[in-house]
């Protein structure tokens, strides 16, 4: 191939449109691929104020007219939006004289566009499965959910290779869609350790006083306040922690459990020890992570666990539940503390271990920072992704599609 390898990312969210984790993932992956010599086009939904076409950190971004009429439900909107995404992407590939080597789709939200473009232009399709309907809903309970589940299955069936971000997700996706293992590749999610580490360098003592008094240790929870993230496990662990050490529990994020959780805290007489901040901006979050004495991730379900990696990158010691992606991220006693899932006593034990042993806390957070830099580094992830592209294009070159 004389020209540069070129890939078209399909994603329903890309900055400044941020709904969940796909947006920052595709942004960092695309930027790092571009730095590694790959020509990257991103086709994504429009956003108020964001340009229809721009070059952002070496990545060419096209924002399509997402379907804006009222829709009966979210999935129907997704399918309708895909009509526009597919049409505009097809026109773009046509303008580029077909010089796109790979379509890379992110989750079922762009399944239709991805599958259609694959067949129309006869180019390989890759998919990154960030999460699954059966995982999100803990089972399939309605036709609506089954439709989404089957759409995910269809996308993984059509994809040349399926990328998952943890060994846990590899086995989950293999089970959920009946995929052969050699079709799946594990490439971890990444964080930008340098950017997150910046907050540590400034003096945060005044900032810290907004959340806790100087003699209180800060225990930080970051996440949506929903059942699968386990915030209730933390609330139930508080009395046990306070028996041993004076601490303030800062809970960042929103969700349907916010009210019930704060009323439980009040009824236990803990209102002065728990602070619900709601959603905070990135800068506040980084500063909070930097001055937290321990970060806890008590999730009951976690496909990857980016929040643990961000805490590790911010040099905050972590206590996580031993489940899903978290089990792989943290090595017990080396890069963090693992505790039993859905067990407040175990969680309290882990928090106290870290808060009462400064030497131990320092050792695990230094190890954790090193691990994050080695393993969850976007440059490395981009190279691994590039290797998957190369091997797919290798087998593609031997197929009859390469001759059309």
């Amino acid at each position: 191939m004389s020209r540069r390898l070129s890939v078209m990312m399909l994603t329903w969210e890309f900055p400044p449109r941020i709904v969940g984790g796909i947006s920052p993932h595709v942004y960092h992956l695309s930027k790092s691929l571009a730095k590694n010599g790959v020509k990257v086009y991103v086709v994504t939904c429009d956003f108020p104020g964001a340009p229809g076409h721009e070059i952002l950190d070496g990545v060419e971004v096209f924002r399509i007219d997402s379907y804006k009429n009222p829709s009966s439900n979210f999935a129907t909107w997704v399918y309708l939006m895909n009509i526009n995404m597919q049409n505009e992407a097809a026109a773009l590939v046509n303008r580029l004289n077909g010089e796109v080597d790979i379509f890379h789709a992110h989750d079922w939200l762009v399944a239709n566009a991805g599958v259609g473009l694959k067949h129309v232009f006869r180019k390989p399709l890759l998919v990154t499965v960030h999460s699954t309907e059966v995982g999100r809903r803990n089972g399939i309970h309605s036709d609506y959910q089954r439709m989404i589940h089957e759409t995910e299955s269809w996308l993984t069936y059509e994809a040349w290779k399926v990328i998952c971000c943890s060994d846990y997700m590899v086995s989950h996706v293999k089970w959920a869609f009946g995929l052969p293992e050699d079709k799946i590749r594990m490439i971890p999610n990444g964080v930008n350790a340098e950017e997150i580490g910046k907050a540590k360098k400034t003096d945060l003592s005044r900032f810290r006083r907004k959340f806790a008094s100087p003699e209180e240790k800060i225990v930080l929870f970051v996440g949506r306040l929903v059942y699968e993230k386990g915030p209730h496990v933390l609330i139930n662990a508080i009395p046990k922690v306070l028996q041993k050490v004076n601490a303030k529990f800062v809970i960042v994020g929103n969700g349907y459990m916010k009210e019930p959780l704060s009323s439980i805290a009040r009824s236990k007489g803990l209102a002065h020890k728990v602070m619900f901040t709601g959603f905070v901006d990135d800068e506040t979050l980084r500063s909070l992570q930097a001055c937290a004495d321990v970060s806890v991730v008590p999730s009951l379900y976690e496909p990857f666990g980016i929040v643990a990696i961000e805490a590790m990158a911010a040099r905050s010691p972590v206590v996580v539940s031993d489940i899903g992606g978290l089990s792989e991220i943290v090595e017990h006693d080396k890069t963090g503390v693992k505790v039993y899932v859905n067990n407040p006593d175990s969680l309290a034990w882990g928090i106290v271990e870290v808060l009462l042993n400064e030497g131990y806390a320092n050792r695990i957070k230094d190890n954790a920072y090193k691990r994050v830099q080695e393993k969850y580094n976007w440059d490395k992830i981009a190279q691994q992704t590039r290797d998957v592209y190369a091997s797919v294009l290798d087998s593609y070159a031997k197929s009859f599609w390469a001759e059309t």
Binding site: V93, N112, G116
Partner: protein, 208 residues
């Protein structure tokens, strides 16, 4: 001239009167020396076949079996229509002159193939959502109407079966009246009118 007809119903799968109309059209086109491919839906009779009258059919099935309504059902079926239409297109060395899409169901596929291959399409209207749903404007109806609008906007030519429908398409979707052509099914000039529209749109000629 080589034409790909997209229709969600075709015998043996008959839902309304469109199936028999499209079959009659395809057979008559073959008699007029046009190579005709019909891409249509069936639950299980999939694949490319040459039928006794010379029409080449390719039936597709839905890759997503569970649905919450006809709209989402149609929207995941379109990629299969694109897949087999693209296969026909490549197998014919890209020598396809035009696509004739009947009603709204495969408009998304027709538009994508137009954008990808510069392949013009005709939108043949049998009925419109506004009449089928008696003017209802729920998000469901509006979604189908938005697909009909897309078809009218992107098509090179719109064929209707009566002057009344021409005026309705013009009234509802503000389509320029010159873009719409009436081809009356039972009339003497039906085939001649269709062929004329095909030649004008697809730029091919009838090989004899």
């Amino acid at each position: 001239m080589q034409v790909i007809i997209l229709s969600w119903e075709y015998p043996p799968r008959v839902v309304g009167k469109l199936a028999d109309y499209v079959r009659e059209l395809a057979v008559r086109l073959v008699k007029n020396k046009i190579r005709v491919y019909v891409v249509t839906y069936h639950d299980f009779l999939t694949g490319l076949h040459e039928e006794p009258e010379g029409v080449r059919t390719c039936r597709i099935t839905n890759p997503v079996k569970t649905h919450i309504g006809v709209l989402t059902w149609v929207l995941t079926l379109n990629q299969e229509a694109e897949r087999v239409t693209a296969n026909i297109y490549y197998d014919a060395d890209k020598q396809i002159n035009l696509i004739d899409a009947h009603d709204w169901h495969f408009i998304p596929a027709a538009v994508t193939l137009k954008k990808a291959f510069n392949l013009p399409f005709i939108y043949s209207i049998d009925s419109l959502e506004d009449h089928r749903s008696h003017g209802a404007n729920s998000p469901f109806n509006m979604s189908i109407k938005s697909i009909e609008w897309l078809g009218m906007y992107e098509a090179k030519k719109i064929l209707v079966k009566s002057e009344w429908m021409r005026d309705e398409a013009h009234r509802i979707y503000k389509v320029p009246i010159q873009k719409i052509k009436v081809v009356k099914p039972k009339s003497q000039t039906w085939m001649k009118d269709v062929l004329e529209a095909y030649m004008k749109t697809g730029g091919g000629s009838v090989s004899r």
